[in-house]
Amino acid sequence: MGSTRLIIYTDSRKKSDVNTFKNAAITLSKTYKAKYAKDGDNIKVVFVKDGKEIVKAINAVPRGKLISLDIVSHGNQGGIHISRNLSPAEKAGYVKKNMHFQIRKNSDSPQTETDAELMEESMHGLYSDSMSKIGVSFYYNQKTSHSPNIATLDEINFNVFAENSVVEFHGCRTAEVIPVLNTWLKDNFAQKISNLLGKKSTVIGHITNTAPDKNPNGNVNDYRYGRVRVYENGKLLKDSVERTKLRFPNSSTP
């Protein structure tokens, strides 16, 4: 029996984003089929609506068989970000309202205090831990409580991963390092998952936002370009390197 190659693409509030994720996931599956089907590997493309479904898809793989995991989704340094419209909108509460307003006030995309009063979206993704969930919810003013399908990394059974597995996140900023936050206080999502994997496993995550339009090779269904960080055994292996030039055993670009 060969290894499992799991490609997950996620839901989004925007249908065009889901279409883009799906086409990128199928592009990856074609690459894997061309390179690894002869080895008897089982290549699976799975659509998920929330963090719990990501966990379920990963944990369903037999022990030690998950050789590659690709997640095509929205993202940030806190995790795989999935949000939904919250209808009706709910009051943000004093702390969240003020945190959201203050965090964004001096950014290029501020919100007014009136904007911050109501949460219009809820969170449903997979995040590093509870602190990451809170951080993301403050930044986007999104509801986290009472989202039964939101998940954190401690729910994943990391025994399903092969010793030399490759994990690649195609969404944005999962390997971003925010000064102070990610240099002193906590790891970004890509590094956090690298800490939990086998010593020979590799994790690849984008540093900036991803826009497949900007892919220099012209393939709008491929996120494998742009600046990335690569982690191995929780350590930084490559810092801010161009993805198109990278080759790793067991990855979609061996």
Partner: protein, 177 residues
């Protein structure tokens, strides 16, 4: 010794309060106002930035650098970003109201005005030909796109100029770095 410690501690607390005050600027209010009540026309291009759910997708076509547009729509006008026309490279002509940010010092009344990305969209139409998402899949299961020349236009018929009729999304500009 105890006195010295008290002085150091007091200085630390004062420094902390000063830093918090500097960062939070509690005496500053921030709000958006329409530049004018006249409708402006702009041309925007759809860029498929999928990094975050809240990434703006429409960019005003300018000489040199394109600028993100944070659209707000009345309930009767569909958001471009939510239609099947939301595809890379499509160009839309938007008519709407532009905004400025106002940072006002509550003590002195001094105001600092900067350009906002927001536009209240009163009408939009797509430039032809354009590409749109099809409901069909190819043999591998990929979502197909098709070319079209059929005009698509939406107008807010009850536009009275009231900005409370427009719903704003929590956009961020994802192409800045």
């Amino acid at each position: 010794m105890l006195k010295t410690l008290k002085i150091v501690f007091s200085l630390f607390v004062l420094l902390f309060i000063a830093a918090a005050f500097y960062m939070l600027v509690p005496l500053e209010s921030l709000y958006e106002v329409r530049v004018t009540n006249k409708i402006e026309s702009i041309s925007v291009k759809y860029i498929n930035v999928t990094g975050e759910p809240n990434c703006a997708k429409l960019y005003e076509v300018l000489d040199g650098a394109d600028s993100a547009v944070f659209t707000a729509y009345p309930v009767t006008v569909p958001a471009i970003e939510e239609t099947s026309l939301a595809y890379s490279g499509n160009v839309f002509n938007i008519k709407g109201y532009r905004y400025n940010w106002v940072r006002e010092n509550k003590l002195t009344g001094n105001k600092k005005i900067t350009k906002s990305n927001r536009i209240d969209v009163s009408a939009w139409e797509v430039e032809t030909p354009y590409t749109l998402w099809s409901d069909e899949l190819d043999k591998d299961g990929m979502q197909l796109v098709i070319k079209s020349e059929e005009p698509v236009k939406h107008v807010f018929k009850d536009d009275s100029g009231n900005n409370e009729l427009y719903r704003k999304d929590n956009f961020i500009d994802c192409l800045l770095d």
